[in-house]
Symmetry: C2
Subunit: 682 residues, 2 copies
């Protein structure tokens, strides 16, 4: 992978003399890179940019670390083959050319062949249909992006070349800079996982931002996130959420754990960040870029204007995960000593409209010492005497000197002098208080995920899973996709659930044998999805006569389905618990509020499997579901126990496509009762 | 009021020669204003800025439209008196000086006296402790703010001078400009209401932005909002939400309709906007500033880069009140004619990275014709050939030519050339898609409020209110603040509610007379707030023996309270309905989910009184409460009917401080039943 960022020699296939052509821009960009030997390849030219040109890569006698290909798609395969055929093969290739899978059926075929050649010859290929890669740290530009991006500590991995250009252009304005930049293109061979892995080891890369339109190797992505958590922050924009092909969804769990929800859960579990917009991405990156990390989630405000101070205070108080710091008495006393009498010495600290840089300095020197304060927002409005440049200098210094962040919020017009100070000092700034406040709120929301040191080395229990396997095999033999209710009950029993039993009614005689009332009658169907809405559930049948009538009606309406009865049960708190096999990321566990609340409030938590009780408990406690359960006097640990049983069931039986316990009833003083269970097989 | 923005003659009391002094800045600023005769007042000077100076205002013989006072607080009253004493009195005064109520007790006394003098002499006073006022349209700066603010169509009313300075400075960068600007200061005489009223009539002012730290004349504010709705958009930042003094709150309604909730409700009812941050304020203002208003809430995206187009699509799809427009077949065909083959002709329309200004022009020319499209986001990323300046020009033209907006989103570094085009054409732009998307979502959320032409000329019914009055009088005579339950039942009955009756148990004999079980026993208390939590409610008492025991325990625990019993009732869907008399804005009606949901999900709607069934219905339908009721098969119109009864009760009886129906039970096929009623008297 190193050769995509630090090659010693590069062949540019499709190099050109013609200005504006990508083959020329690549020559220029690569030509400015340090210590890089270039081999232009173009059968029509002898020299390009004064460098000897080769007809084909086969003609280059020296060792070549990397080939960049920028010729029409239909010629690409031949060149790739030649790279592999060389005596000393070129194993690393960037394909800039478009015209592959993204362009239709013909292109898709070429891309499949490309993949096959790469696999056979163990070639690493970036692209096709990409912008290339950049090592900003060492000044190696192997892309056709302009050379004007700022250096810094952000590793960028992008599935859109045009967006990359915009981010590189805009970043300087925002005070951000890059270490390594990769544009993925069609991800035929190398994908985001390969680069995250590489960036993890790169010393200059302190955080990783990804723009992804699809995730094709989700299980590996998950493993890599587990490896990187606590080491480098990872921030992901996942686009194309609204276009996502809907899978055929048959269960409530399937519906509730659809779309981007599973990705969000997996990012959260690994303290990675999910963002929806570019501004949010930049604001989050700023927290990690050049400031110390906040010490805790209590913030102090130092401002030269009351209004913005009050606005920021409100926004912080209203944000869920951050607070206004309560300053210590000592701090307030010290502020009294250094600030004018009319200044406010409580938080927000108002150092007044005539504040110069020294007053900012003095107030900051005091407040950073206060252990109650985790970070400081320095708000600057342009009053008559406000020395913007000098204040910018002061803020650059304190951010180097102290171990807590002092975020500059310059609510002013574009000021060239101050901007230059920011740039010179690698100092990021904000224009509006909400930018940093929203980012910090997100940062601390993420910190709520406790990362347990315990490895999730979950051992499957052979005994239970082989029993379960037998249940599946019978259904498979019958070519059924759905377990019968009685089979689902057996499966649940293996994992120590308390499922509500059922009596099947096969004929009128069975009906006449039923003696205990009231009861419920239900169909047990392979095909009917919403049986309650379709009339497949009748509650509160009070006597034999009613049951007979219901039985006849159900037989008529659902001739292909079984009919069963269950006793009426005591009302309890309804939860829905489920398992879903996500196509990209594997099995997940879902816990949600049941009954009417399911659809109205959509309160749910999702955990990837395997998991443990600690994870379930923590995620539950951070949700409204826990509040609700406590109000209803339901023991949280009981819910965690049941959820963990289900997690075990789900992890041990990867043949389960979807599973619903909907609802499972919880009581103040009784064993939880699963009254309906639906199991779909892969 | 005109004299605060278009005076012909101004006296500046405290005018100064000394550079940097406010008295000098005011002379300079006012001196640059057109057709304005200045009278500097300063006993120590003969001339200031070459203009004759007067010892006192009494010495000025000519007519003076406005006095601006900028001398220490302790001398201000004398000057104000002199203004009033003049043969031709100066009726309009701006007091810049600080040192009044904001500075402590001494200042508060001066301010009270100032108020008295103003009332006695019918003086209009702006301030004290303010920055002054600005008529940007006519170039009249009667403030000490710098003269560098852009002209435009925003009327600004600000309760913070320093924030005003920041907004004026920043606005140019954002492409916004101002017509009239007022800084309110301490609002001793004139407040926001006076200026909104004036701005409403000002032709150049097309929208009004307010920053308020308190609202002291809420009922008038509400009336003015009613007057201005449908005429000019009003956007309010209300700061100091987190500092708000907590009123003593005794009912659930009181708690749920506290803080800023009532203001938000009143703004929404009048299609005014509530914002929490400065960026959000600016983004909203941009929608109204120089673009046509969107035709509907379906948006088209025209982009030169796929990635940002997908990001914007996702954000729009995920926003509640806006959608991605479905382009007509005709549109797609026409796009095919004008765009390259590889371009995407469905929404988002991708005109490719090599697009020049003509391709933007061509795509826009087609898409604006599509009636499905309400507005267009033009996304621009800086690709190799992208002519930013020319595209800015194109976008300026189309926004003048067409009747739907084309919002420029330049995801680029600060580009001076493009910025100059924006400025020259009064064209606002955005940097990130989420800015305009969030603002549009807010705009269309606001549009959901249907403004009925019907006036709320609610006539009080003398008969019912005089009956109710009698109930209150008895409580008043007893010096009770809370009605007995039986009184509350009588009150509810007057307004045709169906309250659950009660039998009082005064002694053991009463207890022995109870024959029907099961029942509920409750205390009827003047003092206990949370009677259920305190053990003042016992449910499901099954026999006489249990009742006796409960009665004895309650007597012991609550010796000063009455004890009553009610029958157990059939469970239904619990709502909470209430009335609260808001100190600032008068009575409001609250409807919320009852039971456990009240506190967990905090779903509620608030309406100011008087109101009508149409308003209640509409607001209910826009809330999750309606979804919940429909799932539970409760008729919405029944809920609206009950709510309107309560609205009538609340509006006719303004002696009610707080009233809770908590809960009122709704059934699928039964009359709603109010099972607990609490009424607090003012």
């Amino acid at each position: 992978m190193k050769n995509f960022f630090n090659p010693q020699s590069v062949a540019i296939v499709g190099a050109s003399n013609e200005k504006g052509k990508i083959g020329q821009i690549l020559m220029e960009n690569a030509g400015q890179s340090k210590n890089l030997k270039l081999f232009p390849v173009n059968p029509k030219r002898k020299k390009i940019n004064g460098i000897k040109c080769y007809p084909t890569v086969l003609d280059i006698q020296e060792k070549v670390d990397l080939a960049i290909i920028v010729i029409p798609a239909r010629f690409v395969l031949q060149v790739v083959k030649e790279c592999a055929q060389k005596k000393d093969p070129i194993k690393n290739i960037i394909i800039i050319s478009a015209g592959f899978a993204e362009s239709g059926e013909a292109g898709r075929k070429i891309e499949l062949e490309l993949k096959a050649i790469a696999e056979k010859n163990k070639l690493l290929i970036l692209g096709p249909n990409c912008l290339g890669s950049i090592n900003a740290t060492d000044g190696v530009n192997l892309s056709f992006a302009k050379n004007n991006f700022p250096k810094g500590n952000i590793g960028l991995i992008m599935q859109s070349g045009a967006l990359t250009t915009a981010l590189l252009d805009r970043a300087g304005e925002e005070g951000l800079g890059f270490s390594l930049v990769t544009t993925l293109g069609n991800k035929t061979v190398l994908n985001e996982n390969d680069f995250i892995d590489y960036y993890l080891k790169d010393k200059k890369t302190e955080m990783i931002a990804l723009y992804l339109e699809d995730i094709r190797a989700g299980r590996r992505f998950k493993k890599i996130l587990e490896k990187i958590k606590n080491k480098k922050p990872v921030i992901v924009i996942k686009a194309g959420r609204s276009e996502r092909t809907k899978q055929a969804i048959q269960s409530h769990t399937g519906a509730m754990a659809g779309g981007v929800e599973v990705l969000k859960a997996i990012l959260e579990e690994n303290r990675a960040y999910y963002t929806a917009g570019i501004e949010e991405l930049f604001d989050l990156l700023k927290i990690f870029s050049t400031f110390p990390l906040p010490r805790n989630n209590n913030l102090a405000i130092i401002t030269n204007a009351g209004g913005p101070g009050v606005i920021a205070t409100d926004l912080i108080e209203e944000a869920e995960n951050i607070n206004i710091a309560q300053l210590q008495k000592k701090t307030i006393d010290q502020l009294k000593a250094v600030l004018p009498a009319e200044a406010s010495k409580v938080n927000p600290v108002d150092i007044l409209g005539d504040a110069l840089e020294d007053r900012y300095q003095n107030a900051i020197d005091v407040v950073v010492q206060d252990k109650n304060v985790g970070g400081i927002l320095a708000l600057i409005t342009p009053q008559a005497q406000t020395p913007l440049k000098k204040i910018a200098n002061t803020l650059a210094l304190v951010n180097k000197k102290y171990s807590i962040p002092v975020y500059p919020v310059f609510i002013t017009a574009h000021n060239e002098e101050a901007m230059n100070v920011f740039k010179k000092n690698d100092l990021t700034h904000f224009v509006y208080p909400e930018e940093i406040i929203n980012a910090l709120n997100k940062f601390f929301s993420n910190q709520k995920t406790k990362i347990s040191s315990e490895q999730l080395s979950f051992r499957k229990n052979k005994q239970s899973s082989s029993k379960a396997e037998k249940i599946k095999m019978i259904a498979k033999k019958d070519q059924r996709q759905v377990l019968f209710y009685k089979e689902a009950v057996s499966l649940a029993s293996i994992y120590k659930f308390n499922p509500l039993g059922a009596t099947y009614l096969n004929n009128e005689r069975d009906v006449s044998l039923v003696k205990k009332f009231p009861i419920v009658a239900k169909i047990d169907s392979q095909t009917v999805l919403h049986k309650r809405a379709r009339g497949g559930v009748v509650l509160n049948i009070e006597n034999a006569q009613s049951l007979k009538k219901v039985f006849q009606q159900m037989q008529e309406k659902f001739p292909n389905d079984l009919i069963l009865t269950q006793p009426m049960v005591e009302p309890g708190v309804e939860l829905i618990m489920g398992i879903k096999n996500d196509r990209e990321f594997g099995s997940v566990l879902l816990i949600g509020l049941g009954g009417v609340a399911t659809e109205i409030f959509n309160q749910k938590i999702i955990l990837s499997l395997p998991t443990n009780k600690e994870n379930i408990k923590q995620k539950l406690e951070n949700s409204l579901i826990a509040k609700y359960l406590m109000k209803e006097r339901i023991s949280l640990s009981q819910v965690v126990d049941e959820a963990f049983k289900l997690a075990t069931l789900g992890f041990e039986n990867d043949w389960i496509e979807e599973l619903d316990l909907n609802p499972i009833l919880f009581y103040e003083n009784k064993t939880p009762l699963a009254i309906d269970i639906k199991v779909l097989i892969k």
